[in-house]
Amino acid sequence: MRKKNWDMIDRIYLDSAASTKTDPEVIEEMIPYFRELYAIPTSQFSHSFGIEVQDAIFGARKLIKEQIGASNEEEIVFTGSGTEANNLAIKGTAQANRSKGMHLITTKVEHLSVLESVRKLEKEGFEVTYLSVDGKGNIDIEELKRSIRTDTILITIQLGNHETGTVQDIEQIQEIVANTQAYLHVDSAVSFPYLPIDLRKTKIDLMTFSPHKFYGPKGIGVLFVREGTKIAKIIDGGFNENNLRAGTENTPAIIGAKKAFEIFKQEDVSRIKSLKDLLRSRIENEIKDVELNGALDNSLPHILNYTFKFVEGESIALRLDFEGIAVTTGSACYSKNLQASYILLAMGKSHEQAHGSIRFSLSKYNNEDEINLTVLKLKEIIEDLRKLSPLGKE
């Protein structure tokens, strides 16, 4: 009888930390901006086509501003992606504030868009401190305190980790940074809106959002830039986005992003969290020799990462894919540079643990049947691969 139910499931997508299915309501909202409202909004003194689009984009800025507690519309900067928002936040503030200092602080577990941005700045003469993390992926607040110098101009730290779901203590971090001249940039690309934010109550200067992670369209990122922040433009051209990002506004994506901010329901978060709890308890109770990568508490409600000992992650992911189940792994064999997950390694995990790691990430479109089927298939696959493996035999 269970089988019958499961046969109706086509494919199971557990890779929502990478990207999500765009909500049909979002798509509906976007369509007129391809069909009728295609003009550019550059000038309010332009034709009526342009003014209509200008109004719509202003409306999007206003809604997002209200959702995150920004104080004015100019603080909302649309970019081409979360990656671009991180690039602008980091390179833009570094360039604009180099007379105040050349030192930046980040962590070893940031998204590549942060790490590669600071690495590029290092080549230009900036100094970067990379904070370590503990076994659960949390930074050491004392190390942060010790690392801040008089010439530190920017501290960039993610809120939630995209591979393990570990959440940093941003309350504490912002109190520390607030007493310095440095700006605080927080990458919330994977954590928002699972962890909502009210920027009125924080001392965060810059914050990255990525709407396609919460049912919005791809090709759009949002950077919050608090009024008064000194930041330089990194894409040159026209005077779009409060003169912070040149390029024709991607109106359909901006409108889609707005809709994604608007319709996200916090009720979904608790449902997703209960699916994660179900997956976690079934894996831990029914599969031997597994190890959680990340934290139990202070963890994003939609990301779960396990190492299955004695087997390699690409094999698990591929076998799951044959069953129609999509996950990712921190194995070197899966990555584009053939290196094991730098995040798990930074957490002190061995290469072996990183190679055997699987990330499951959920969305509002998943349900209990899917989780149960995933566990069933996972058990078979792990058992099979362990039979094949030379490891773990007595």
Partner: protein
């Protein structure tokens, strides 16, 4: 389903042949390690009179191409004499699988290495091998010809990526004509070290990216 693997690779990955162990094998050899992401243990049973491989089995901790190559190369070796089996190359195994994505070639090399190591050990054990060789520049080049540039799937010797090799009192210096920040620099460095470090007279290896 669109995967970068051929049907044959997937068949061998899903249902690998010759999996398991042999009781009291003539040779048991392990190549790779879980730390480098792939590991393969090979068991060999040889008929002492005919020197034919009568049984061959493997276990693999690795990705699909590693498992599939372990499966096909044991198929290829079974029934051959030890001397014939030494002629089996990873290239032949990869071709028998209908090809492998370039980025995955290095994973399949491990299975061929395990086979060759096992055969070498068999020959050595039975006093059929020539004497211990001193590591020379030629030996290093021969070893490096098993290191694959994952970008192209072609080995770094054939791709003319080896700028120079120096052998001086057990210290090996290898200059690679790639930039330090090349996408696969870390991976190529690891592979070079793995290929050379076990040689009996090698004390130190320095891999320098000078591109």
């Amino acid at each position: 389903m669109p995967t970068p693997y051929t049907k044959l690779v997937i068949e061998h990955f899903k249902n690998p042949h010759n999996v398991g162990e042999i009781e009291s094998p003539d040779v048991k050899v392990t190549e790779g390690s879980p730390a480098c992401g792939d590991m393969l243990t090979l068991y060999l049973k040889v008929d002492p009179d005919t020197r034919k491989i009568v049984d061959i089995k493997f276990r693999s901790y690795g990705c699909a191409s590693n498992i599939a190559t372990g499966s096909i190369i044991t198929d290829l070796a079974k029934g051959k004499t030890v001397e014939e089996a030494t002629q089996i190359t990873w290239k032949e195994a990869a071709e028998a699988l209908g090809g492998l994505p370039p980025v995955k070639v290095h994973c399949s090399v491990l299975a061929a290495d395990a086979l060759h190591s096992a055969l070498e050990i068999y020959l050595e054990k039975n006093n059929l091998l020539k004497e211990k060789k001193t590591t020379t520049i030629e030996v290093i080049f021969q070893k490096l010809s098993h290191v694959i540039n994952p970008m192209t799937g072609i080995d770094i010797v054939k791709s003319k990526l080896i700028k120079s090799v120096t052998v001086d009192n057990g210290v090996i210096i290898i200059e690679v004509d790639l930039a330090e920040d090349f996408q696969f620099a870390g991976n190529i460095r690891e592979e070079i070290i793995e290929r050379v470090e076990y040689l009996w007279d090698v004390k130190e290896i320095r891999v320098e990216f000078i591109g």
